[in-house]
């Protein structure tokens, strides 16, 4: 089952380029009973590794601007460090609740925009 979920999450990551990690997180927390922080940390590493290949695949559809990539590179590295630090300061239940609210609100926006 876990391999099948992984394969499906990979397909969704390749197809939509966002959101697939949440499926993995929900599966880890509520089905495999893995602690929220650990589930999110593993999900981030897995999806980031897969995103290397997905980004290369997307370069066939779009032209990346090198200046934007350089800016994104610096800001993302700082953001990643701050986010990982902040994650540990929030209780897992609250983190799950915030995540659920963000995913719900964004899905509604995406559905009706």
């Amino acid at each position: 089952m876990i391999y099948f979920i992984g394969f499906i999450v990979g397909i969704l990551n390749g197809l939509f380029a966002a959101g697939a990690g949440q499926i993995l997180v929900v599966y880890f927390i509520f089905s495999k009973k893995i602690k929220s922080h650990l589930a999110r940390a593993v999900s981030i590493s897995l999806l980031a590794s897969a995103s290397i290949f997905t980004a290369i695949g997307y370069s066939r559809f779009i032209e990346f601007d090198i200046i934007k990539i350089v800016i994104i590179l610096f800001v993302s590295l700082i953001a990643g460090y701050i986010g990982a630090k902040l994650m540990k300061k929030i209780k897992s239940n609250i983190l799950n609740l915030i995540s659920g609210i963000i995913v719900t609100v964004l899905s509604i926006i995406r559905l009706f925009s």
């Binding site: 969704l12 940390a41 981030i44 990346f64 630090k85 915030i98 559905l111």
Partner: protein, 131 residues
Amino acid sequence: MWISLILIVLVAGIISAMGIGGGAIFIIISTIFGLFSHKEAQGYNLIIFVLVGLSASIKNIKSKDFDQKIFLKLIVPILLGSLVGIYFASIVDEDKIRKYFYVFMLCIGIYEIISSLKVIKKDKLKIDERS
């Protein structure tokens, strides 16, 4: 334009590194601000996520908040799935199937809210019982 790009990447990057849905935030906000088309936003989001993931993973591994076994178990199926997903992205009209994905995501979000509220309520009852 550059300041809004930096701010959006910073906010979405922090939320991504917390594993609570920063990618979708980046795509929505950057397209609302007219910085990118939807497809471009998806591509740049992937680059952001690779770097945010790298930075967050180093931090998580250092603080031992990481399970190597699960990572090794899932990395191959996820990579294979991603290759299939990229192939699908080149042959199907992603706009047509996108709404089904977001209906599914909506269900995931609602499930996450209900499940976490249940746990919060349970914890509160335990605390009340103790006091």
